[in-house]
């Protein structure tokens, strides 16, 4: 099956899935899952270099081609999507629009695959828009706030996309082709730096908007926070990676080191890339700090996606073999971790119907498997050794230190420490601590929902121990892009990842951690357990405290004494009065609204007198200009 046939039939199938799902959404969801499985097997069977034509536009061939990069990104995406599809088979019964969800999920899958396969800028745009459109239509299926979220998502995404489109056609005008590799070749020999930089930044802006890099990051909080719960896993785990892909295309496929050889270099990196890295670093700071203070668990992880997008951008932007591989590997790690976390949250919301951390607690006793999945996922997300998340961060640090980018390296370390803080908040608030009374009947979710989470966790763990199956495709990708192809980083024969300041032996580390864990577990079983006191236990009935006092007062508002409330109050106070970028963008939106109001009020609403005035004035101006 040719690539184009595959994509088109996927789009057509998605419509069929809608009608099937109308009859029985469960059948539709199962079909979706089966198609997903098929896609994974298909993707693994494809050979690189396969191309297929999609059509022509103005004599420009629109082409799809299968490269190492397409394989890597498609495989990661499908892993996330298929697990969500499996998850959805049960989870969808809590949703209002299961049929449309199934249709758009499949459509979005087709769109994303198309983006990764695109050989030219317009094909990429087409599938990009399909993915955005279909995901944009899933977002408002959530709670009430999600409607607004969909609009903000669409606009922010479109602002990046249209800048990209402008850049694409600027490149087309200059180089007469839309093919990415052709453009890359011609850009190297093009002497005009200004236009090259403009094309570079315009193309990158689509990625910036999509992967939530700093100036266009605000939609992540709103869209990820309010989208249907399981879909947040796709949004954060997969769709954001479309942005990373575009960033990789602009930075690596168009060889930025050679294209910008004659502009100032800082730490061995051209100013354009340096600019992107600065944006990435800002995203890490903003994402981390904002994540720490969120009470809504989904928004918290949404901000963590901002920070992790920053890591990916920094890694790729260095164009250092180590950094590049680290960035690309981080795509994989973050995709899996974010997907598991959001699915875990979806399970929690599925059972408890709230996503406020302060309203939850103690779910470890009720939902142990979900807790376990979440625990492993955050270990990976925070970059703590035996999980795979550590490896990519370690590689990025290596690159930064080698390039001598100490400020960026410091920010990256800071983000890593911050991530301990923020991932711990839901852990403590949702799963540990006391169980609110109203959740005492909560049960673990069904296996259909926890199996996909556990699969992803296991994959992540295995890759943490034995990362070479993922590192090898990345290495061949790096060779494709010509980033120091002679340097070998992964060395499976010696179980090593070779960095410049020391090597990493994941198997050894895992074994050490395993031993440590076993010792800790033995100690845990040997010593007596702590005693549990229920904050609400003495209450005979809800709201009437009997024998718990504080400062001589009855506790009328136990939720304020719950340790989840103001979890990091002390830390948050340090940056309480931070400037809000969301407000700035809000002002921009308000400006356009006011402008519209003004146009309407001055030119459209008034009496015929004003019309006559405008007509006359227009004639006079035209006359004045032309006479």
């Amino acid at each position: 099956m040719a690539l184009s046939t595959l994509l088109i039939s996927l789009l057509v199938t998605s419509v069929i899935i809608y009608f099937v799902s109308k009859a029985s959404w469960r059948v539709g969801a199962i079909l979706n899952f089966l198609i997903g499985i098929f896609l994974i097997s298909y993707v693994f069977a494809l050979h690189t270099g396969t191309t297929s034509d999609l059509g022509t536009l103005f004599g420009q061939k629109l082409q799809l081609t299968w490269t190492n990069a397409s394989f890597y990104f498609s495989a990661v995406s499908l892993m996330v999507i298929v697990s969500v599809m499996l998850f959805a088979i049960k989870w969808l019964d809590s949703q209002k629009y299961p049929a449309a969800f199934n249709m758009f999920l499949l459509m979005m899958t087709a769109g994303s695959l198309g983006v990764f396969m695109a050989a030219d800028l317009v094909t990429l745009y087409i599938f990009w828009e399909i993915a955005v459109l279909s995901s944009m239509l899933i977002v408002p299926m959530g709670k009430k706030e999600s409607r607004k979220a969909a609009v903000i998502y669409a606009v922010m995404s479109a602002s990046g996309t249209y800048m990209y489109l402008y850049g694409a056609f600027l490149a087309f005008q200059r180089y007469g082709t839309l093919n990415i590799s052709e453009i890359a070749k011609q850009m190297v020999s093009d002497p005009s730096t200004g236009i090259k930089a403009a094309i570079f930044l315009l193309l990158a802006s689509a990625g910036i908007a999509k992967s939530g890099i700093f100036p266009l990051h605000t939609w992540l909080r709103i869209a990820h926070g309010n989208a249907p719960d399981a879909f947040s896993a796709v949004l954060s785990g997969q769709l954001v990676k479309l942005g990373s892909y575009v960033l990789m295309v602009t930075v690596a496929v168009i060889p930025s080191l050679r294209v910008f050889a004659n502009i100032p270099f800082y730490s061995g990196i051209p100013a354009t890339n340096y600019f992107l890295i600065a944006l990435g670093a800002t995203s890490i700071i903003v994402g981390t700090l904002m994540a720490i203070k969120q009470d809504d668990m989904k928004m918290l992880i949404a901000f963590s996606s901002v920070a992790n997008g920053g890591y990916i951008l920094i890694g790729i932007g260095t164009m250092d073999p180590m950094g590049f591989e680290g960035g690309v590997l981080h795509v994989f790690n973050h995709a899996l971790a974010a997907a598991v976390i959001f699915m875990a949250f979806a399970s929690v919301v599925y059972r408890t119907h709230t996503k406020k951390i302060s309203e939850l607690g103690g779910l470890i006793h009720k939902m142990p498997i979900t807790f376990l999945a979440y625990l492993f996922a955050i270990i990976s997300l925070a970059g703590i050794p035996p999980m795979s998340g550590f490896i990519s961060k370690w590689m990025i640090y290596q690159a930064l230190v080698r390039k001598g980018m100490f400020i960026t390296a410091f920010i990256a370390f800071f983000g890593s420490i911050g991530s301990f803080l923020y991932v711990f908040r839901p852990l403590a608030g949702v799963f540990l601590g006391q169980l609110p009374k109203k959740y005492k009947d909560v049960k673990e979710v069904s296996p259909v929902m926890w199996i996909p989470m556990m699969i992803l966790v296991v994959i992540s763990l295995i890759i943490g121990i034995w990362p070479f199956p993922v590192l090898q495709p990345i290495e061949s990708m790096r060779a494709d892009f010509g980033i120091a192809p002679m340097v070998k980083i992964s060395d499976p024969d010696h179980w090593l990842i070779r960095g410049f300041a020391g090597n990493w032996n994941p198997v050894l580390v895992f074994n050490l951690f395993l031993i440590g864990f076993i010792i800790a577990y033995i100690l845990y079983t040997m010593f007596p357990r702590s005693k549990k006191v229920d904050l609400l236990a003495p209450h005979k009935e809800e709201g009437t405290p009997i024998n718990i006092y504080t400062g001589g007062e009855y506790i009328y508002t136990p939720e304020l004494y719950h340790y989840n409330t103001k979890f990091y109050a002390g830390f948050e106070r340090m940056y309480e009065k931070h400037p809000s970028w969301e407000k700035v963008l809000g002002m921009l939106a308000k400006f356009f609204h006011d402008l519209g109001e003004w146009v309407h009020g001055w030119f459209f609403r008034p009496s015929p007198s004003a019309y006559a005035f405008w007509v006359s004035l227009t004639i006079l101006i035209v006359f004045w200009v032309r006479w």
């Binding site: 609403r605 007198s609 006559a612 005035f613 006359s616």
Partner: protein
């Protein structure tokens, strides 16, 4: 001179449209502009010393310069009728506007949606 009159009349019509608050006066101003344009058209067809382009016993012969240009007159005939049509529709609209908004003064009209 005739040109000047018609152009000034156009100016007056526009001025009326811009300053008046009564919708009927807008219609009248529009009529003034129409008329002014018609005068202008007729004026473009005038030939010094020319007569009305009708062959009669006393004017049986064709010659260039003897008649004024008949085409603008024919055009004006059409334009006048068009003006009448506009006026009729406008006036009937005003009747209904007064019924609906209780006034035809821009500032006193009620219930005009924003």
């Amino acid at each position: 001179m005739v040109y000047a009159i018609s152009i000034i009349l156009i100016g007056i019509g526009i001025y009326g449209l811009m300053t008046q608050k009564n919708l009927f006066k807008h219609l009248i101003s529009l009529s003034i502009i129409d008329t002014a344009v018609n005068i202008f058209i007729i004026a473009t067809g005038y030939v010094e010393g020319g007569k009305a382009p009708i062959y009669t016993k006393s004017l049986p012969n064709f010659a260039i310069g003897k008649f004024v240009d008949p085409l603008p007159q024919a055009l004006v005939l059409t334009a006048i009728v068009i003006g009448v049509g506009t006026l009729a529709v406008g006036a009937s609209l005003l009747v209904r506007i007064r019924e609906k908004h209780s006034s035809i003064d821009v500032e006193n009209m009620k219930g005009v949606e924003e």
